[in-house]
């Protein structure tokens, strides 16, 4: 139960703690206020009553004993107050009054001057505000008792409705301010999380603004430094790859030229085929190195036509696979993207399907709600090959990862096709994921902001 009440988000937790604290403080404040009011009201009651009792006493003591009953009966006593003369101290079922309360009464009674000879000779206090009734007995100098019984109105700490309304308003305003401040103060944490997520997807994600409160600015700066170091690290590695790739181009060009002078046709063909493979590896490496900082401009292109063209090219290159290449979807669909990069990514995916599955079924699924924010275009590329071991579905996107070695030796490739495709799609704000179809074969699902 406690766990269920404990919220998960930092903002909610902070707000929860602050609001619980606020409520406790307000309750305590309210209690202090109420107790104070009770004290004040009791003091007032005691004083009023004491003055009235002493007033009665004065009148009675200054009257001759014979006339006392009569005078007492005629005196205006006020509501809830009875007074009687008796030979005995008051007898009731009420317990004696607690001493602190008695003191309130005594102090007030002493305010009223009563000449020394006429002063009361004894006092008895019974009951108290808690019982709603007080009995005060005063012994006259001649031994008679004046016993006054008074009903005390219950004290009303919540007397003022405006106070309660103001108090409520204050609480609501404080709670609102708390929620607002917490949301504001924890917003940078959400920004940081979003930035970390973006960095994970694209190492060239824009840096965080280094402003706001000091701690937030420091965290943002630290995050930006970390991102820069990661970028630097990735950059160094890709630069290394790119440098090697660049340097390999000259020897490959020379070898291709030399191969043209080999007399033996069969040998020449083989050498050239090897060189093609080598070149493909180098160019994949270069593309992989370059995609991290692609500078191509975004423009409008017909995605449907691009997919059909890529299938045509795949069919031209591998005529035996041509019957297994199919496009399904609208005849035209315009997207905004980097055309060459997009073409490369989709070429890689279609080539994979053709390589492992001997064909590709490409389906273009327009977004459900066109134009809505976050609407995604989906492209599914299916093949009827052996599929991918479930444990490898993500690992195949790691650079230079290669599936089963024996399979790759004959099909070639460096293990960069899928990483390149994913880099490109993520740089577009989309993604590529692979899955095995229940009916066999693999399916690559490409998403792209529509």
């Amino acid at each position: 139960m406690i766990l269920r009440l404990w919220p998960r988000s930092l903002a909610a937790r902070t707000a929860f703690v602050l609001l619980v604290g606020l409520i406790l403080v307000q309750v305590a404040g309210l209690a202090i206020h109420a107790m104070d009011r009770i004290d004040v009201q009791r003091l007032g009651q005691a004083r009023t009553l004491a003055l009235r009792v002493v007033g009665l006493y004065r009148t009675v003591v200054l009257t001759t004993p014979e006339q006392r009953e009569e005078v007492l009966a005629e005196l205006h006593r006020g509501p809830g107050l009875t007074a009687e003369l008796s030979k005995d101290p008051p007898v009731t079922d009420l317990p004696p009054m607690p001493l602190p309360v008695q003191r309130l009464f005594r102090v007030s009674m002493n305010f009223v001057g009563v000449p020394g000879p006429q002063r009361w000779r004894d006092l008895q206090f019974l009951g108290g505000p808690d019982m709603g009734r007080v009995v005060i007995g005063l012994r006259l100098p001649d031994g008679e008792w004046l016993n006054v019984t008074a009903a005390l109105e219950p004290v009303r700490p919540w007397h003022s409705p405006t106070f309660l309304a103001a108090f409520l308003l204050m609480t609501v305003v404080a709670a609102g301010l708390t929620l607002w401040a917490v949301r504001r103060l924890t917003a940078p944490v959400r920004t940081l999380a979003a930035a970390a997520e973006a960095l994970g997807r694209d190492v060239n994600a824009p840096p965080l603004p280094e402003d706001g409160p000091l701690e937030v600015a420091i965290a943002a700066a630290a995050f930006n430094t970390m991102a820069a170091r990661i970028r630097r690290f990735v950059q160094d590695r890709t630069d290394l790859l790119t440098a090697i790739g660049h340097d390999l181009r000259t020897p490959i060009t020379r070898l291709k030229l030399r191969a043209e002078f080999i007399e033996d046709d069969e040998q020449r063909g083989k050498v050239l085929a090897d060189l093609e493979e080598l070149e493909a590896m180098v160019s994949a490496t270069l593309v992989f190195g370059r995609d991290a900082r692609t500078g191509e401009a975004v423009s409008a292109l017909d995605m449907a036509e691009l997919l059909r063209t890529l299938l045509d090219e795949a069919g031209d290159a591998r005529p035996e696979a041509a019957p297994n290449l199919a496009y399904e979807g609208p005849p035209h669909w315009t997207v905004r993207a980097r055309p060459l990069a997009l073409k490369r990514a989709l070429t890689n995916l279609i080539a994979n399907a053709v390589m492992y599955g001997g064909g590709a079924r490409v389906r273009l699924v327009p977004p459900v709600s066109v134009g809505a924010a976050g609407a995604m275009l989906t492209i599914e590329i299916e093949d009827d090959g052996p599929g991918i071991p479930p444990g490898d579905l993500e690992r195949v996107f790691e650079p230079f990862h290669r599936g089963e070695p024996s399979r790759n030796r004959e099909t070639g490739g460096v293990g960069l096709g899928l990483p390149i495709a994913r880099n490109i799609m993520r740089a577009h704000g989309g993604d590529v994921v692979l899955a095995n179809r229940p009916t066999g074969g693999a399916k690559a699902t490409v998403t792209l902001p529509a």
Binding site: R249, T250, L257, R258, L301, D302, T309, D312, D316
Partner: protein, 239 residues
Amino acid sequence: MDQPPHIMVVDDDREIRDLLARFLEKHRIRVTAVRDSREARRAWANGHYQLVVLDLMLPGEPGLDFARWLRSQSDVPIVMLTAMGEETDRIIGLELGADDYVPKPFNPRELLARIRAVLRRVGDSIGPRHENGSRPLRFAGWTLEPARRRLLNPDGVEVALTGGEYDLLVALVERANRVLTRDMLLDLLRGRQAGPFDRAIDVAISRLRRKLEDDGRNAQLIKTVRGGGYVLAATVEHA
């Protein structure tokens, strides 16, 4: 072509220079090979060349600067050797008026085919060529951008083309309203596609028609000419 064409090769790698010269000479092309822009200027002053093969990555004066200078001197066709995937170099080069480009490491036979294609195109064409070299071409609402090798539909949306389709379309657009025989088109596609070339042309033409939204049964844009050939029936203007 009784006289073998004479071309200049500018490349800073001596081995590539020598091997390329030997390879091209084996295929009946006379070659003068030089290592940088300075030697190239000297060779240009002392000889007559039908074409220049220019590596853009040169020590000293960059290849693009030399290409610009060369263009200011003459209309000689230029085939650039570009670093693989250096799009900006390629686009600038084509905008400067280079006629074609081959990414390095190049396939010697492909380079040979490109050189021959460019020489043939130059031989074919009447009138000045470079004034409009790589400026966009407009026809029937469509735009062909040679510098970026792309086709834009009337809404400005890029419509993808295969390499062969692009070459074919350029040939048709450059010679709009003139019949191109199958043999001429075959030359363009040679080296690009495997399989029977004849069929490849028919396939490429039908794909082009589909992309240009030209009804295959009743084609209005790319018309079939009886006796084996095609013609682009449209007014082409330089944008």
